[in-house]
């Protein structure tokens, strides 16, 4: 499906298909997981929801996956959004404080999503219209956003019981947890927005060369603002899910360092930090690789001190597998062997 959106694939004879490094890595990690913990793929039904380690990979992967879906077009424009973790904290704080009022579920959710859009608009305006480098522009909200969230929650962990917010993490559709459905819906939305229209092409054009794109008539300012707003919107959804999961807003910790995981997922998915070509599907795959690793480490019984090292090695392996230099080397090796025989 994704190959059609990739005009380069037909020109590179040594590549079987584009997602091979990512897919094989995911399969490899899952195989290691099942060796470590034979019950990894056992799935039962608990309270009408699927229940098992493999389901955890998807369910726990949802926040980073949604963040990565938001981050992908931003990175494709050559930008970056460091503020998504802080936006999660803000969205969580807003969710928790609204959940204690009499507002209806749809009102709470739309207000939270609007908060996310507003955060994205702020980033977008700084980047697009003031021309501040994305790294610095979004750093502002990364630092101040957590402070805002703490102001809303007054430094406490705000807990609540609200049927509408609970629904997000506690319900299921045909035994599939709702959060996973939401993730798929965001993927679909992003795909329609970016690939169903010309926006995706404009995003890539802006990322490759903003000046040239402006000269051929792409409204790059509007494109940039839109992608940052989309990223803020996704972060707000992730914030809703995280807050709903623990039924509380923890402004100090919600979404902490998740921006790094999201960026990592996008990079593992093959989108270059320099901008240009992107793929939502592979970013999602990247997020699942990270989570498959996390869940695998948790069930394996490794010492927690090893977690980061194992993670770093796996990431290194994925990035090496994608490295153009390595690919050229392997191709040359193949040619030599053929020549020798």
């Amino acid at each position: 499906m994704k190959q059609s959106s990739d005009p380069m694939s037909s020109k590179k004879p040594f590549r079987v298909f584009r997602g091979l490094p990512q897919l094989s890595m995911l399969v490899l990690i899952l195989i290691i997981n099942v060796i470590n913990s034979p019950s990894f793929f056992n799935v039962t039904i608990q309270d009408g929801r699927l229940f098992g380690s493999i389901i955890d990979v998807f369910y726990r992967g949802v926040p980073v996956a949604i963040l990565a879906l938001g981050m992908t077009p931003v990175i494709a424009t050559g930008g970056i959004d460091l503020s998504v973790g802080a936006v999660i904290a803000i969205a969580g704080a807003v969710t928790a404080s609204l959940a204690q009022t009499d507002l209806a579920g749809w009102q709470i959710i739309s207000l939270v999503l609007m908060t996310g859009l507003a955060c994205g608009l702020w980033n977008g305006l700084l980047v697009a219209w003031l021309g501040i480098q994305p790294f610095v522009a979004t750093l502002i909200l990364m630092v101040s956003g957590r402070g805002m969230a703490q102001m809303i929650t007054e430094g406490k962990i705000l807990t609540f019981t609200n049927p509408a917010v609970d629904f997000i993490s506690r319900s299921a559709f045909l035994t599939v947890p709702t959060a996973i459905i939401i993730m798929l819906a965001v993927l679909l939305m992003g795909w329609v927005l970016l690939r169903g229209t010309a926006l995706g092409m404009f995003v890539e054009a802006t990322g490759i060369n903003r000046v040239a794109s402006t000269n051929v008539g792409v409204k790059t300012g509007a494109v940039l603002t839109t992608v940052y707003m989309w990223c803020g919107f996704c972060a707000a959804i992730a914030g809703l899910i995280i807050t709903s999961d623990i039924r509380g807003a923890d402004a100090n910790n919600a979404g902490l360092w998740l921006e790094m995981d999201a960026i990592l997922a996008v990079v593992i998915g093959g989108t270059s930090l320099l901008g240009g070509r992107f793929s939502l599907g592979f970013s999602l795959l990247g997020a699942l690789i990270i989570q498959a690793m996390n869940t695998g480490i948790l069930v394996s019984g490794f010492k927690p001190e090893l977690n980061y090292i194992v993670k770093a090695l796996v990431v290194l392996a994925v990035l090496c597998a994608q490295s153009p230099a390595l690919r050229i080397f392997m191709a040359k090796l193949g040619q030599k062997r053929r020549a020798a025989s």
Binding site: S39, D56, V299
Partner: protein, 321 residues
């Protein structure tokens, strides 16, 4: 005429206030408190309790919030020295870099009390006394309670705090010491939940799946209450009853764990008291009154709380945090 009268009233009021201020400050102790910030509920509670304890003893408190920055704490200490306060309370944000500023305080003859955290050993002569909790004891008490509740026979899963943090290491050490004395008590899984609710929940979920849907797990020990609260949700979502199918013991004593205990979902918590200032103030007052030098290290009281007092403790604490 009216104006003159007004002026007179104002002037006399100002004079009166100045006089009374002097009269008060003559016998009222003034303490400068440099707090780290308000990064956790416990920290804010410590600040509130410090105000209350100072109030109780008629001590004037000058408060400075450092917002997690050492430079702000250094500035605050210098300001306190300039104001010639009677003592400085310091909750140091980091262990190093205090030598210069604490020397200034020492030269000015102002005693410094460390609250809750220590600084590096080479500066040990620069402070008067440190008020700290015994984190190893906290872990030990949690394990002792568990050994008694299970008759020394338990498969335990442990949710550790942030890897490498001293509090994680100490709470783990104390717990393991006691577990080692009971041959039938075993820690079957131990992972880091980063002291947060959502990580605590995620880690507990994976433990439950690794142990036959949680049926092999007797008890869960968490290095703080927040992770335990997350884990309680994971236990419930797996169709088990927290506090019964899996016993729950944790450390800190935040209000929400008392609520969980009152609801029967948690079994015990070891309190880390936010009252670090009380013992410090007592030591200071004694020092000022009869020159008794306070001990270098003052340990706060560590206490296990059980469900029977949970509701009352929750009501008492919810305003503090």
């Amino acid at each position: 005429m009216k104006l003159l009268k007004m002026c007179l009233v104002v002037v006399s009021l100002v004079v009166l206030m100045a006089v009374s201020n002097v009269a008060f400050s003559a016998d009222k102790l003034v303490v400068g408190f440099s707090q780290i910030g308000a990064e956790s509920g416990w920290r804010s509670a410590e600040t509130k309790v410090t105000y209350q304890e100072a109030d109780k003893r008629g001590v004037e408190l000058k408060f400075s919030d450092a917002q997690q920055k050492q430079e702000n704490q250094i500035k605050a200490i210098r300001a306190f020295v300039a104001q010639e306060v009677d003592a400085i309370f310091l909750a140091p944000v980091v262990e190093t870099g205090w030598t210069t500023v604490l020397k200034e305080a020492k030269e000015a003859g102002i005693p410094v009390f460390l609250l809750d955290r220590l600084i590096e050993d080479k500066d040990v002569d620069l402070y008067t006394s440190a008020i700290v909790s015994d984190q190893v004891l906290e872990g030990r008490l949690a394990a002792e309670w568990l050994a008694e509740a299970t008759g020394g026979k338990a498969n335990i899963v442990e949710l550790q705090g942030t890897v490498g943090a001293s509090v994680t290491n100490n709470r783990k050490k104390g717990f393991e010491e006691v577990v080692a004395q009971h041959p039938d008590m075993k820690i079957i899984h131990s992972q880091s939940g980063d002291f947060t609710r959502s990580k605590g929940k995620e880690v507990m979920e994976s433990f439950i799946k690794a142990e036959n849907g949680g049926k092999n797990i007797t008890a869960m020990y968490a290095h703080n209450d927040d992770m335990a609260i997350g884990a309680i949700q994971a236990i419930k979502e797996a169709g088990l009853i927290p506090g019964k199918d899996i016993l729950v013991v944790s450390i800190d004593g935040v209000p929400d764990i008392f609520k969980a205990m009152a609801d029967g979902e948690a079994n015990a918590t070891v309190e880390l008291t936010p009252n670090m200032a009380g013992p410090a103030l007592d030591a200071l007052i004694k020092f000022k009154a009869d020159g008794v030098a306070p001990p270098k290290v003052i340990q706060t009281e560590t206490k296990v709380y059980l469900p029977d007092t949970a509701q009352a403790e929750y009501d008492r604490r919810k305003e503090l945090y």
